[in-house]
Amino acid sequence: MKAARVEVGGKPVGTPANDRSGSRGVNAPVLLSVRNIVKRYGSAVAVDDICLDVREGELLTMLGPSGSGKTTLLMMLAGFVAPTQGEMLFEGANVAPLPPEKRNFGMVFQGYALFPHLSVFDNVAFPLRIRRQPKEVVREKVLSVLKLVHMEAYAERMPKALSGGQQQRVALARAIVFDPKVLLLDEPLGALDRQLRASLQDELKALHRRLGTTFVCVTHDQEEAMSMSDRVVVMREGRIVQIGEPAAIYSRPQTRFVANFLGESNILHAPVVGSEGGKTVIRIAGCRVPVGGATNAAGEACLSIRPEHVAIEYTAPNGGTDDIALEGHVRDVTFVGADYRVHIETEAGPIIARCRTSEQARIPAPGDQVWARCRASAVWRVISD
C-alpha cells in the first residue's frame, strides 16, 4: 500500500488544502508530531513507519479494524509501549523516552479503569493529589469538573455503584481535571450500549469544543469516528491508509478498503479507456464516463458508488445526460426504517441502492426489472487493495 504517493482529485491527500476549513484545529499549529514510528514484536510489525501530525485543539480519531495498530500507536503516545524506532515530538521536544507520568497527557482507558477502592471524588482528585495541589484547590477543581460531566451528585459514590455511562463520565473527569494539553481516549464508548453511545458521542464532542483540549481517540466504530472527529486517520495493518475530515474521506475514499470500512460502498470494475482533465475515463454499460479519484494505472478501474447515490427507475432512462444507468433486476429488498435497501443484479455486477422510504412512489419488489441510475460525479475511482 503506497498510500502516500497516491493523489486524489489532483491534490495530495491529507493536506489542509484537501480539508474543508472552518472546523476547529484544522489549520492550527502542530502540537504532537509522530515521526517514523515503528513498533515490532519479534518479527511481527504492529506499527509500520507512521508519520502523523496532531494539531492543537483538534479531535483526531484513529480508526481501523482490530490489528491495525491503532491501539499500539495510542499506547506509544501515552508512554505505555516503547517504540522500536522513531520519534514523538510534543511541543518540539522528543517525548518518546519519557515514562507515562512525565508526559502529562490525560488518558481514558477502555473499560475506564476507575480505582475501585476510591470514591468518585477521590478518583477525580487522584491526579491533583499526586501533583501535591493544596486541599482547597483539589476540592474546587474536582467539584467543578464533576459538574462539567454532570456527575456532581455522585461524588461520594464508589465506582462499582455507577452505571457504565456514569463511569465513563468519571473517567473523563479524572483525565481532564489536571488540564492536560492532550487527552488520549482508547475506545471511550466501546463498552456502552448503542443508544447511550450516541448521546455520549454528542457530549464528548461538546466537551471537546468547550475545553479546547486536543483529543486523540481510538475506535473501531466508523460511525463514532465520523460523527465526533475533526479528522479521521484510517489505519490498516500498521499503516495509515488515509487522513482527512470525515466528510472528505467518506466522499473521496482513496482505496477500496476505506470505501468499505467507512460506510457502505458498491464496488464495480470497469475498463479504463483514457483520461481527460485529470480524470480517468472508463467504459461502463456502453458509455464513456469520466470519473474522479485515483489516477494510478490503466487497465481495469475499481469504482466505488455509495448506495444512497443510486436511484431506481422502472423505465429505461433516455440517454444524453451525465447519468449512468445500469439495467438489472431486483433480487432482494430490505426495509430498514428510513430507507429501503434494494439489492439489484445489474449488467455490471451486484449493486445495493438505498432509497428513502418517504420518496418511493412504488416499493420495489424482487424480480422487478429496473435501472440503477446514478450521476457520473457519484462514481469514484479507488485503488483496489
Binding site: 497527557f105 491526579p127 499526586i130
Partner: protein, 273 residues
C-alpha cells in the same frame, strides 16, 4: 420446577459424614470439658487461674503473632515477584512453592533440625566467619523459622489470588495520571491487595494456632505451645477435663478470629476469587 430438594439430596451424604466424624466428636469434647472429673465449670475456673497455662498461652500468642507477620510479609513479596515474573519464571516459582507444600511437615521439620542444629550448615558458616555458634534450635527462634517456612505458601497463594485479580489497567491509569512507580504501588496497587493480605493473615493465624509437630521437634520441650500442652494433658497425664477445656478455648479463639475477619471484609468474596 424446583430442583432444590434434589440438590439437597446430593449434598446429604457429605453432611451426614461431617456430622458423624466431626460434629459428634466435637460435641463429645465439649461435654467432657464440663463433666470430667466432676460436672460443672470447675475445669474452666482452674484453667483460667493456672499460671502455667497462662505462660503457654502467652508463648503461643507470641509465636503465632511473629510467625503470621513474617509469613504474610514474605508471602506478599513472593506473590508480587510472581505476578511480575515472565511465564517461564512463574512455572519455576510455582514448582518451588508447591513442592514443599506437598512434603510431609515431619520431614520438613527434621530438615530444619539438621540445618539449624549446632553442627548444621548455618552454624558452620557462622563459625567459619569467626563468630560464636548461634542457638537456633530448641528455642522460639527455631520454632518461628520452622513454622514460617510451613506457612509462607498459604500466605503467598492467598495474596496471589487477590493480586491476580487486579486489572493491569488500574496501574497504567495511575501512571498515566502522573503517579510514578512508587506512588502507584502505595496509592493504587497496595490498597487493592489488602483484602488478600487480610485473608492470608487470618488463614495463617488460624493454622499457626493449632501447630503441634513443629514446636515439639524444633522447640525440643523448651518451647511449649498450646497444641503440645493439650496433647500432654490428655495422652500423658490423662487430665481429660483440662485438655478438653483448652481445646474448646483454642477453637473458640479460632472461631472468633474468623468471625472478626468476616465482619471486617467480605470473606466469601476473598475465598472465591
Amino acid at each position: 420446577m424446583n430442583d432444590q430438594p434434589r440438590f439437597a439430596a446430593l449434598v446429604a451424604p457429605m453432611l451426614i459424614l461431617l456430622g458423624l466424624v466431626y460434629l459428634v466428636p466435637l460435641f463429645g469434647v465439649l461435654l467432657i470439658s464440663v463433666t470430667e472429673p466432676q460436672p460443672g465449670l470447675g475445669n474452666y475456673a482452674n484453667v483460667l487461674q493456672s499460671p502455667a497455662i497462662g505462660r503457654v498461652a502467652l508463648t503461643t500468642a507470641r509465636i503465632c503473632g511473629i510467625t503470621t507477620i513474617l509469613s504474610v510479609v514474605i508471602g506478599y513479596v513472593l506473590a508480587y515477584a510472581y505476578v511480575s515474573a515472565s511465564a517461564g519464571m512463574r512455572r519455576m516459582m510455582m514448582l518451588f512453592i508447591l513442592v514443599p507444600l506437598w512434603t510431609s511437615v515431619l520431614i520438613r521439620t527434621f530438615a530444619w533440625l539438621m540445618i539449624l542444629g549446632d553442627n548444621g550448615p548455618v552454624n558452620g558458616v557462622v563459625q567459619s566467619m569467626g563468630f560464636d555458634r548461634l542457638a537456633m534450635m530448641h528455642n522460639e527462634l527455631g520454632v518461628v523459622i520452622g513454622m514460617t517456612h510451613y506457612l509462607v505458601p498459604y500466605a503467598m497463594l492467598t495474596i496471589l489470588a487477590g493480586m491476580a485479580g487486579i486489572d493491569e489497567r488500574l496501574t497504567m491509569a495511575s501512571r498515566g495520571l502522573g503517579a510514578g512507580p512508587v506512588m502507584t504501588f502505595l496509592k493504587v496497587y497496595f490498597p487493592l491487595t489488602l483484602p488478600g493480605v487480610f485473608a492470608g493473615t487470618v488463614l495463617v493465624l488460624v493454622l499457626a494456632l493449632g501447630f503441634y509437630v513443629t514446636p515439639i521437634i524444633l522447640g525440643g520441650g523448651r518451647v511449649v505451645m498450646m497444641g503440645e500442652y493439650i496433647s500432654t494433658q490428655i495422652l500423658l497425664i490423662s487430665r481429660w477435663g483440662i485438655g478438653s477445656v483448652l481445646a474448646t478455648l483454642l477453637m473458640l479463639v479460632v472461631l472468633l478470629t474468623i468471625a472478626a475477619a468476616a465482619r471486617a471484609v467480605d470473606l466469601r468474596r476473598i475465598f472465591t476469587v
